[in-house]
Amino acid sequence: MLELQRISKSYPGVDALRAVSLAVGAGEVLGLVGENGAGKSTLIRIVSGAERPDGGRIGFEGEPAAFASPADARARGIAVIHQELSLVPQLSVRENLFLGAGWSRRGIVRRRWEEREARCLLGLLEMDIDPDTRCSELSLGARQAVEIAKALALEPRLLILDEPTAALSPREARALLCQVRELARQGAAAIYISHRLEEIEAVADRVAVLRDGELVRSIDRRGPAAGDDGLAPLDRDELIEAMVGRSLSAEFPPRLPAGIGETRLEVRGLSAGRRVRDVSFDIRRGEILGLAGLVGAGRTDVARMIFGAAAPDRGEVRLDGTRLELRSPRQAIRSGICLLPEDRRGHGLVLSRSARANFALPNLDRFRRPGGVVDRRREGRAFSRWREQLDIRLVRAGQRVATLSGGNQQKVVIARWLERGATVVLCDEPTRGIDVGARYEIYEWIRRMASEGKAVLLISSELEEVLGMSDRVLVMHEGRIRGEIADPARADPAGVLRIAAGIERSEKPSVA
């Protein structure tokens, strides 16, 4: 039904997809797996018309297709269910189902027809929901189901589900999987993307593994070895090997010989709802502690709570033995904690201001003269010093930070905390969206900060990065710390991924 031939796509500094060829037939569910950044999202964006490939051909239902926009793809029968819900909470289920779909007759809503159709659609999914319930009153799982019903209302030929169970409870997730299978039985095609391998095993006829923008493995489960459900059992270890694949190479700067000192940061029993449960760990002077796990495992929440940006329900944090209040980032910064946020553009920088103003923002008290006046000369000197040291490339001194490349933006954030002289550095996905050259420089700076006696927490979804950079790695799964790897340089990435995926629960430092 859908046929991709040698699709390529590159962004500045990254080849997101390299000549990927893939096909999905009618009645088939294709499971798509891969690490973060392997190219899954890009692939979906291309298939759904949100992005155009640089090279390659797309065929849909036997014809060449070049979708100009998501609306175009939708009109051809391709429906995407995103991770983020797209329902209007104030409207009823029925109203949401037919929103924007043009089901009216001369502008007048065909209410009776809608009601019948809504019941039919929800019945199809075996959902016991009154179509006149407001969406805001539904559980997340029910809302996800409505989302799917909404996609089904279009009678799609191809359904794409991108991490659809991220917000669902296990029971709701199981129901969703049954729905997808049912749909395939009726002759539609589906692409199912998930980090959760057990879901892939339950739903996919065929599994494709992406790594670094390439299709590295395709497993067909139909055939002689098939079990009762018509599908051969999936070898998860094989999948994980394929996803990780690479050996750790010397892409990381060497460890500096400063040595690790006494305990600097103590985190005890940090908890926040379902996202973070009883997280405890220590970071010592000069240590880089890696925090591995899948997206949504609660790692960012942990960092934000230490930084005072989110309030924990329970737990405490001590810095050099003194208990911290955790009330606001302002306080955290004053005590010497700093954060390189995951969402650099949204949380790290004021894009409308210059690189220099962004650098100075948390440091203004250091450049102040009586009366709250900023000493611009001192500010300028400090900025040019770090600009030189970090090699931040600007066209003009007053250049807006929005116009910088990702690497230079991250360096501005690092520069501000270096100037601040922080003692604890929380790095949340520090190299996301940064090209290879700048990436190495940022690794060097993380190393250097550790060697100066700072305690560094490194959150990364890239296994290689977190293993290659850290002195010790903790693995989180669904809000809990599930494992500790004492010697990450020689750890087996697949083992880490197994813990992160919740397949293996034991605390077992695996060595390759």
């Binding site: 923002l361 611009r376 066209v395 690497g407 290879v436």
Partner: protein, 473 residues
């Protein structure tokens, strides 16, 4: 870097366009001034002390001494200044003043009759262009001296320009505070009402607490400060609503707008009741301040520049320094540009927002004091619909309603643009209904520009990024 097309000339043209694009509001202001000047190109008959002195010189040159001169002028302040200058000039020479007329053509005839009846004669009449056309002057049979006329745009006279700025000084002062609020992506609809409240409170306290007609300057100052403080408190209230209770600024300040207006009216009516002794009607009137010094702020002048303009300029300079040189200014821009990033950078977001709304209220209060002083009393109905004019001034001045972008200097220019348009249309004789249409169109154009600017900026950014991205190793 894209290939430069058109060589050096093209580059210069691009650079010029770039500079003009960055300072679009200045360009618009200059254009508007030019248009207003062209539209008001008139014959000028200045009635000033300088033209009076010139007439006196003419008379002395033409007449044989001793000659007696009749001075004719209308009964206006400018005419009296003019006449006084003539008299001073004549006294310096050998001429004698036969008489002075301040009034109508009829008064000239009566005066001439009186002089002739007394047996004296008139050798010359010194007057201005307008009175020289009067019947009794023309038919008096004596030489008439008047200053020469010339062509010059009425708009572009010092008097008119000072007048334009003076009349809009209160709008400009409020626009300062509004700029801060809009920079944080907020809005303040209560400024017009706070203006009225501050004026009324200053007037009522001046009358009732600080001695009325006998109030000392210190007492009046205290009354004015009370008015400003009340307005600042109002701003603090909306700031609290916005920060602590997360009420959208539009709604919070809409509430305060009605509340403050109501309070101003209640206070004014209450004062009236106390004056009359009980049973006064509930129609609000201005609260008159009897102490004469009270009017100085609104009507006095320093070195010929009206006080409101002086105050406005001082406040603009102060606000400009505040926003460009201090931590507070940096914080305001950061909060407006990206609240979350500001918070995570340790900016005390709540305190900044509170201060911004409080300052905006205080500026509105100051404008209210200027207004009250100008009208020698607090008017509870003052400042109606000011909020919209002020917002228009800020937006026209280049601030983005989405926050984070805008400058104090831009706001000054925006306020002046609005003032110039109003004045230009007035002088050009455009009726007030048409003026509204022009205003509306102007504001829409300004907001449209605001919408288009990010697109242009992002195009420029893409070009810059392409040329600076770090090379891949």
């Amino acid at each position: 870097m894209p290939e430069e097309k058109g060589g050096r000339a093209g580059r210069w043209r691009r650079r010029l366009l770039d500079v003009l694009g960055r300072n679009l509001s200045v360009v618009v202001l200059v254009l508007l001034c030019l248009i207003s000047s062209a539209a008001t190109w008139r014959e000028q008959n200045p009635i000033t002390s300088r033209s009076g002195a010139a007439v006196a010189r003419q008379v002395l040159e033409a007449c044989q001494a001793p000659c007696s001169v009749l001075i004719v002028a209308r009964d206006t302040e400018a005419d009296r200044v003019f006449a006084a200058a003539i008299e001073q000039g004549l006294d310096a020479g050998a001429a004698r003043i036969a008489g002075r007329v301040f009034g109508q053509p009829r008064d000239v005839r009566l005066e001439l009759e009186r002089i002739v009846g007394a047996g004296a004669s008139v050798d010359a009449i010194a007057t201005h262009r307008i009175a020289s056309e009067w019947g009794p002057v023309r038919t008096a049979g004596t030489p008439v001296f008047a200053p020469g006329s010339y062509h010059w745009p009425t708009f572009l006279t010092a008097r008119n320009l000072l007048n334009v700025v003076n009349q809009n000084a209160d709008i400009a002062i409020i626009a300062l505070g509004m700029t801060l609020v809009i920079l944080t992506a907020g809005i303040d609809l209560s400024v017009g009402s706070l203006l009225a409240l501050a004026g009324v409170i200053a007037a009522v306290t001046a009358q009732e607490w600080f001695g009325g007609a006998a109030a000392s300057p210190a007492g009046l100052l205290a009354a004015m400060l009370l008015g400003v403080a009340a307005a600042a408190l109002g701003g603090l209230l909306s700031g609290t609503m916005v920060t602590a209770f997360r009420v959208p600024p539009f709604v919070a300040t809409l509430g305060l707008m009605m509340l403050a207006r109501g309070l101003a009216l209640i206070l004014a009516v209450g004062h009236q009741r106390r004056l009359v002794g009980g049973g006064a009607e509930g129609t609000p009137e201005a609260v008159r301040v009897e102490a004469a010094v009270f009017a100085w702020l609104g009507n006095g002048a320093v070195l010929g520049v009206p006080n409101p303009i002086v105050l406005m300029l001082v406040l603009f300079v102060a606000a400009h320094l505040l926003m460009t040189r201090t931590m507070f200014g940096r914080y305001v821009y950061a909060v407006g540009g990206n609240v979350e990033a500001a918070r995570l950078s340790g900016v005390p977001v709540t305190a900044v927002l509170l201060a911004v709304y409080c300052l905006c209220g205080a500026f509105a209060g100051l404008a209210g004091i200027v207004d009250a002083s100008r009208f020698e009393g607090g008017r509870p109905n003052a400042g109606e619909l000011y909020e919209l004019q002020v917002i228009a001034a800020v937006v026209v001045g280049g601030a983005s309603l989405a926050g984070g972008r805008g400058r104090i200097a831009g706001t000054l220019i925006g306020a002046m643009i609005i003032a110039v348009i109003q004045n230009g249309l007035n002088i050009a004789g455009v009726a007030s209904y048409e003026q509204k249409v022009v205003f509306g169109a102007l504001i829409l154009a300004a907001v449209l520009l605001d919408r288009l600017q990010p697109k242009i900026a992002s195009r420029r950014a893409r070009m810059t990024r392409a040329s600076t991205s770090t090379p891949v190793q």
